[in-house]
């Protein structure tokens, strides 16, 4: 197409950072749909506003989600994007691909869609951006033939995602990719058929570094942790020190609970393990000498979410430690307990954190059958307004 049609976007082809405009143009070379997308976005840049209609439910047979309907608000001017629906395609755990699989995906998408995609969307899906209502079913069928299924959308369990885990990280206390894949297969019904009050996100991180940003982004975060002592290779520590590593300033004084000390005479790093809060700092700084402990499992945090409606939350500790080995039954049971309670008591568009905020954490714990424990709170209550059940109150 003629370059001069998009003077504003053309400016974003300049500069060193990879350009999405260059990608739009590459797709526009082959697809009339993408060419009109480029023109509509240029119009948005000129008008300072988006030009997509709100609403529009489309889908594929047998599923209640996985497709986001999208229609241009200016179909006469940009007929190519009159219908421009998105398919959310569930990514393989850990975002690993063979080039063969990716090429198959590209072939399907060039045939049925715009040739534009996100690798990946914020939740984790492969986002195939832009196809017509007519092409949705054949595209989904073709995706199925190469082994790609849809992810979640709407008031459903959303596509899970995770950090790289044990596949390439020495810190991972759990097999994040297997947990993610296993839960994904287990909850296909909940992912594909929205039946919850609102979205429900699950993410899995292998250690408290939380590289999957699970605690902020998921209603239920699974984060690997250990409960014995950090493993210390004293010779490894001595090597760091001998090489001039500033052990005191970089590690010892930055331990949040003063759990570390250095015995200069014996050249030994001393750990008071009961003071350790598994923050990962020392391990991050000295990966050749320090490792996560051997008794490994995961904590479960609940309620993480973005602002809408009642404010953003970072997840709250529900279970401080859980062993996590296949078939992950205890975890699956907990997820069912939590989502069933929420489905029963939650209002329309009320996320889990907002439900807990409304009902109170004690009522939620009772409802799902989880015993309270001190790891759940930063500090106990400071007000005197306790609730008592009738059976707890006996006359003196």
């Amino acid at each position: 197409m003629d370059d001069r049609e998009t003077p504003l976007l053309d400016e974003l082809e300049e500069g060193d950072w990879p350009s999405f405009v260059a990608e739009l143009k590459r797709a526009a070379e082959k697809s009339a749909m993408s060419a009109d997308l480029l023109r509509q976005i240029e119009r948005s840049y000129a008008d300072n506003t988006g030009h997509w209609k709100r609403g529009g439910i489309v889908g594929v047979r047998g599923y209640g989600g996985g497709v986001v309907g999208r229609y241009s608000a200016m179909p006469e001017e940009f007929p190519g994007v009159k219908e421009f629906h998105t398919l959310r395609v569930n990514e393989p755990a850990g975002f690993y691909y063979t080039t063969e699989k990716l090429r198959e995906l590209c072939d399907v998408w060039d045939k049925y869609g715009s040739g534009l995609l996100n690798l990946h969307g914020s939740t984790g899906d492969i986002i195939l951006l832009g196809t017509t209502t007519e092409n949705l079913q054949p595209c989904f069928d073709a995706l199925g033939e190469i082994g790609f299924d849809l992810g979640g959308s709407g008031s459903a369990m959303r596509t899970l995602s995770c950090c790289v885990g044990q596949s390439r990280c020495e810190h991972a206390c759990i097999d994040t990719m297997d947990v993610t894949h296993d839960l994904t297969m287990n909850f296909q019904m909940e992912i594909h058929r929205p039946a919850f009050p609102y979205k429900f996100k699950i993410k899995v991180s292998g250690c408290p570094n939380d590289c999957a940003a699970a605690s902020a982004r998921s209603d239920l975060a699974i984060i690997g942790v250990w409960r014995d002592a950090i493993e210390i290779d004293q010779q490894g520590v001595a090597e760091y020190v001998d090489e001039g590593f500033d052990l005191f300033n970089r590690v010892i004084r930055r331990c949040p609970t003063w759990a570390l000390d250095w015995d200069a005479e014996e050249k030994r790093l001393k750990l008071t393990s009961e003071d350790c809060v598994h923050c990962m700092h020392c391990i991050n700084e000295m990966p050749k000498a320090l490792r996560v402990g051997q008794e490994r499992g995961a904590a479960v945090l609940i309620g993480g979410k973005a602002p809408v409606v009642k404010g953003a939350m970072i997840g709250w500790v529900l279970v401080p430690f859980m062993r996590l080995e296949p078939p992950y039954q205890e975890l699956k049971d907990l997820i069912v307990q939590v989502t069933e309670f929420w489905a029963e008591h939650g209002k329309n568009r009320e996320r889990l954190a907002e439900l807990i905020d409304r009902l109170g954490m004690p009522a939620f714990l009772e409802g799902i059958g989880v015993e309270p424990c001190p790891q759940m709170v930063d500090a106990p209550r400071s007000n005197p307004y306790l609730f008592w059940r009738e059976e707890e109150v006996k006359h003196a």
Binding site: L12, E170, V308
Partner: protein
């Protein structure tokens, strides 16, 4: 019946042989140069991961191009990170330098590892979203054109820095815990098209959608009214009722938030806090926004101690000094008046005067 519920490709069929053989056996890692991670297994195997920037919104031709590179150097395997970087996984050490050379020759930016600015997590924007106040892809491109030297390691930074861009307060990327978050905002009460409300909206659920109780029924018009003194322009009502329009190109804009983190290292996870309540929405280059982000990065970079994240640095020096040093005016908008406001008020004498 069509085939349904078969799930994603099994990761075990996607991972390269070196990952399969060393799964759960990785011993430690180091960063031999910016953008490269070298993982060493207890088996003695060494895996080099080369991280490169991606615009996230890509064409199938782009995907075929990175596949071609992965075929040549990585045995036909590659992966992506949670922040949209591409990672080329090299098990044959002989192939590492030629791969780096080819990537650089083709203009890819190698970086985003360790103490660096990684790729920007962002939302769809005008490319595909109905409720986008601004365009995320354009903001990211404009910001990173200025900051890519901190991605590639050409210029060092004290610690990792995570930037995120969301085109509205829905914050699809959940950027509320980023070192720097750029968020599109509205500033005016939504307009209600009374004629359409009765036809296309469910009034009780529209009223219930408002977090501040600003919406009341308007029985005379079979519509609703919004109390302007209560509305904080979240747009949740507009998501529920298509007769409500919160978009306003003239007054919508961009806000900037700082100091969030999610890693538990040293300090606990933190929310990003308001730095700049409003900047104008000026595509295609958003000069006010890129300048503000650059200023935040520069001020932090020059003053933070080694290993100190943005939020840790601000907490150490105090917010009062943060506003002084950055030159950002502190206004009544910085004082919270929403649901958890009182937890943010200062109750101590520990402040700088």
């Amino acid at each position: 019946m069509p085939k349904t519920d078969f799930g994603p490709p099994d990761y075990r069929e996607m991972i390269p042989p070196i990952v399969r053989e060393n799964y759960g056996k990785w011993r430690y890692h180091r960063i031999p140069r910016p953008g490269v991670l070298e993982h060493v297994s207890e088996t003695g195997d060494v895996l080099s991961s080369v991280r490169v920037a991606s615009p996230r919104l890509v064409s199938t031709d782009f995907v075929r191009e990175i596949c071609e590179i992965a075929d040549k150097y990585c045995g036909g395997h590659l992966r992506f990170t949670t922040r949209h970087n591409i990672e080329f996984l090299v098990s044959d050490r002989e192939k590492l330098q030629p791969l780096l050379d080819e990537l650089e020759g083709r203009g890819y930016l190698i970086g985003g590892v360790g103490r660096a600015i990684s790729n920007v997590v962002h939302t769809q924007g005008w490319i595909h979203c109905k409720s986008a106040v601004t365009d995320a892809s354009g903001l990211v491109k404009s910001i990173m054109d200025e900051l890519h030297d901190y991605y590639t390691g050409k210029k060092p930074v004290p610690a990792k820095l995570r930037i995120a861009v969301a085109c509205c307060v829905n914050m699809c990327g959940a950027c509320h815990c980023s070192d720097i978050a750029v968020v599109g905002i509205h500033r005016r009460v939504p307009r209600v098209n009374d004629d359409v409300v009765s036809k296309s909206c469910e009034i009780p659920s529209t009223i219930a959608s408002c977090p501040t109780g600003a919406i009341r029924p308007n029985p005379k018009l079979k519509s609703i009214t919004i109390a302007p003194e209560k509305c904080m322009y979240c747009g949740n009502c507009a998501a529920v009722c298509p007769a409500i329009d919160v978009m306003d190109p003239d007054t919508d804009g961009v806000s900037i938030w700082v100091g969030g983190k999610l890693s538990n290292a040293r300090t606990t996870p933190k929310f990003s806090r308001l730095a700049i309540p409003y900047l104008p929405n000026h595509p295609p280059r958003w000069p006010e926004v890129t300048e503000a982000v650059k200023n935040l990065v520069e001020v932090w970079r020059q003053r933070a101690k080694p290993g100190e994240r943005m939020g840790e640095w601000i907490e150490r020096i105090g917010w009062e000094r943060f506003f002084q040093i950055t030159g950002i005016p502190f206004t009544e908008k910085h004082i919270d008046d929403f649901t958890h406001a009182t937890t943010t008020f200062r109750s101590s004498m520990q402040f700088r005067i």
